[in-house]
Amino acid sequence: MHVRVRAKSDPKPSEITGERVYRSRREFMALAASSVALGGINALALTEDWLEARGFADGPAFKGQDPGEEITPFQYASSYNNFYEFGTDKGDPAQYAGEMTVDPWSVEVTGEVAKPGRIAIEDLLAGVDLEERIYRLRCVEAWSMVIPWIGFPVKRLLDRFEPTDSAKYVEFTTLHRPEEMRGQRSFFSSIDWPYVEGLRLDEAYHPLAIFAVGMYGKVLPNQNGAPLRLVLPWKYGFKSIKSIVGIRLMRRQPRTTWNVMAPDEYGFYANVNPNVDHPRWSQKTERRLPSSFFSPNRIDTMMFNGYAEEVASLYAGMNLLRKY
């Protein structure tokens, strides 16, 4: 199981001083002192130092890992991205996402909540315990990776804003800032910015659904959705929206970007399902990246991306051939 069952006697993750912190405390103190001496930096911003100081608990082991199922090297996970805000080539985000300012950053929570409001990312993260989660990432384009994220359950954040009883769905919005996101300026893009994704509230509250702020022990690179993104391992990658600035709790199903653009190709649920082909390609198999010249590294795609045991109950009684 992904959800770790903790014995009463076990220390809470928040009580464990991360090894990194332990090791780097001296360096960190020295660095903090020097930065204050230099006039002070924003000590709260999401930097490597911030993450080192915060630390994160080791996540549960990667569920059902085959001996051959290795973590994708960081180099590939941070250079082969779909983030159309920066261009449609896989290399565009790594090349151009540096143009995006991620500090300062705030998120606005609206809709069916008792306490709506805008909150700075530092405040938003102040009370949460970070942990590492190693998940498969399956793209709708039939390639996949295995990535160690650092984050926290979606529920943890949403609860702070106290969703009301009428909240049934949640909508997420990516930053819209054409002057820093060249894909949003592109004349040939058919996407109606900003990028919007959404979930049923019970999906968002599932323990596997996390907000990530880091990966591979580092803060998220911009191209991977800094400073805050969703990670939903049982859904196709496009659901795991990046660089989130807006969260809205809703009574009705939100209109999500790809679903509105091409409803026959991209369902609202977009659960990984080898039995439902995308109209333009089969979903039965996937290419686990990195591939090589000599092998496409093709493997069978699993129902719910291998997380059926955990999430299948969310969709009990639904016809997944129609609600894809």
Partner: protein, 203 residues
């Protein structure tokens, strides 16, 4: 410049993307992960496809260009453009078979039936075969007027190649728009000339 020199030069230019690719592959094999990204197969297949469609458009542009610049001798280069377009299309296809489908012919048959962009891509490649085979002067003589008729297929192939590009694009349609615009221009020129000729013959 002598004809043979010009031809050799053009050959070198059109073959240079292959040379660059071979060098990149060599470097990648020596030091994996330094030249190509996470998906070298996809990158190479796309690269070959780009050169195929570029040279296909170039082939179609040779005779209008020779008329525009009043250089009728340019038409003699057309065969080389066409054969290189064919060569890159074949490499594009072989790359897809090996590096994307992994020589799994079940997957290829599945793709052919289920993915329309692959269906039109393969159709375009199949049509290129007779054109490449009859590109020699001998065949030109043997087929006489029919040679011209047969080689008008190049326009159909151009249309299929553009459809292939439109259908495989998800949201960035820049390339599809570019090549379609070029094709419309070339086809438009051809139709305009045909109408002039028909009008002249009717007189």
């Amino acid at each position: 410049m002598k004809w043979a020199t010009a031809k050799a030069l053009l050959f070198a230019v059109l073959a240079s993307p292959l040379g660059v690719l071979a060098y990149d592959v060599y470097r990648e094999v020596l030091m994996p992960g330094t030249v190509f990204g996470a998906d070298p197969g996809e990158e190479i297949v796309r690269h070959m496809g780009e050169w195929a469609i570029r040279l296909l458009m170039a082939t179609l542009a040779v005779s209008p260009a020779s008329r525009l610049f009043k250089r009728p001798q340019w038409v003699r280069f057309r065969r080389m453009f066409g054969l290189f377009a064919f060569a890159y299309a074949v490499l594009h296809f072989i790359g897809y078979l090996g590096m994307l489908a992994g020589f799994d012919f079940g997957a290829v048959v599945d793709d052919f039936a289920k993915r329309p962009y692959i269906t039109v891509g393969i159709a375009a490649l199949v049509m290129l075969v007779p054109l490449a085979a009859t590109s020699t002067r001998g065949w030109q003589r043997r087929l006489r007027r029919n040679w011209r008729r047969l080689h008008r297929l190049a326009y159909v192939i151009g249309v299929l190649a553009c459809i292939h590009l439109w259908w495989l694009s998800k949201a960035g349609f820049g390339e599809a728009v570019l090549y379609t615009a070029i094709l419309i221009l070339l086809l438009g020129e051809r139709i305009a000339r045909m109408r002039v000729r028909i009008a002249a013959e009717a007189r």
